[in-house]
Point group: C2
Chain length 241, copies 2
């Protein structure tokens, strides 16, 4: 693609694209399940169920009419529901433990290429988050993992959750850019499709282990994205960084 | 001060505290005034008049009832007014030139100690902006100057301009912290006084050249702040960084 078609800012999905939520949440959930005496529950299944509630909740959020509520709070509500579904009454558990478990989403480890890839991309492009994670969550994660964001943007700044168009269009507007001057970088075809419908450029990063090796739920939404890479280092090379 | 009293996050005023607006705006305004054929106007006086409009505008903003409008837009309005006061009709000038002049506020140079001081402070504390500058402005400035913010916060995120209490309290809330867990770092007693009234901790950084060596307009508001330093490097040493 010609240099004139390069975006002015790269905006990143984070959960799954930059960090490996499933490995981190499974490991922490194994510990928490043991602490509440439920080591019989499979932590990977528990994690997948928790994440499934998130995906469903985000897709339905705009239509729900609910006032904007930060993801830390939603993650806690979804944890309580996931526990209830597993036969555990969260009201019987220590609130501080549940809060610490919820904040496992702030402690996700990056994919091995993420820090190097982001650092290289940052040399040429401003790199911002366009994530549904709230600012405090993203800030703690960035400091733990060394993710060198230029700015933390996304849901809390626009007060809209992806795939709501306001999340994408609001981020471009705040940056003072037209949608086509912003490129969403994401491992999820559903996210990229929503961004493209708003006029953003799109870069796909393949993360075959996001669901433990099983197909992603949005695999059928694949399109011919402007860029496609196997890692953030590969994306940096493809963008001339 | 005992370690237990240390803040959890350092939130920075930027204009005057981290960057030297007067030197940068005066130099750019000298060039722009020459380009519009008004090299007879003193660029430092022009700059001081522009900044005075800002200080007045911010102090009155909450009571004005105006919807939140980003600082890039307000800076442009204030430029037009400053030109009018100087006997120049901005309607006769090229709009692109006026926009470029306005964006001089994105191109301010840091004080000599700022990058090293912030980098050291960041080793121990999350460092965020708590500035009236909008996100796009702060993002461009940070990349030009190498200011290593963990997050860009402040007016646009809280939709309130300092010294409105909502700017300080909203920033703490978004961080998930109580006001006393956040320390405002600023060169301005007026800003620190407003932050203290909201319960934030306060750190004063002396910038005797902010007004070209003349006293700051809020000099009489000096108090005994929790910390007081001659530079951001000095502050880093006082906070054990």
């Amino acid at each position: 693609m010609a240099g004139s078609d390069l975006p002015k800012v790269l905006a990143f999905d984070v959960f799954g694209t930059v960090v490996d939520w499933r490995t981190s949440i499974t490991a922490e959930s194994a510990d928490f399940l043991a602490r509440i005496g439920r080591a019989d529950l499979d932590p990977a299944t528990f994690t997948d169920n928790w994440r499934r509630r998130y995906l469903t909740g985000m897709a339905a959020y705009a239509k729900s009419g609910r006032d904007f509520t930060i993801l830390d709070v939603l993650h806690r509500e979804m944890l309580d529901e996931t526990l209830t579904d597993a036969g555990v009454d969260p009201a019987t558990l220590d609130d501080a433990l549940l809060q610490h478990w919820t904040f496992a989403w702030r402690r996700l480890a990056p994919w091995p290429d993420s820090v190097e890839g982001l650092t290289r991309l940052k040399g040429r492009f401003p790199i911002v988050t366009l994530s549904n994670g709230n600012i405090a969550l993203m800030l703690e994660m960035a400091r733990r993992d060394g993710l060198p964001w230029d700015a933390i943007m996304g849901a809390e700044v626009t007060r809209a959750y992806k795939p709501d168009p306001r999340a994408y269009l609001g981020t471009a507007k705040i940056l003072g850019l037209s949608p086509q001057e912003v490129c969403l970088v994401a491992a999820h075809h559903s996210d990229l499709a929503a961004a493209r419908a708003c006029g953003l450029k799109t870069a796909f990063v393949s993360r075959p282990m996001e669901y433990g090796g099983r197909p992603a739920p949005d695999a059928k939404l694949a399109q011919d994205w402007e860029w496609s890479a196997d890692s953030l280092i590969d994306l940096a090379e493809k963008l001339g960084c």
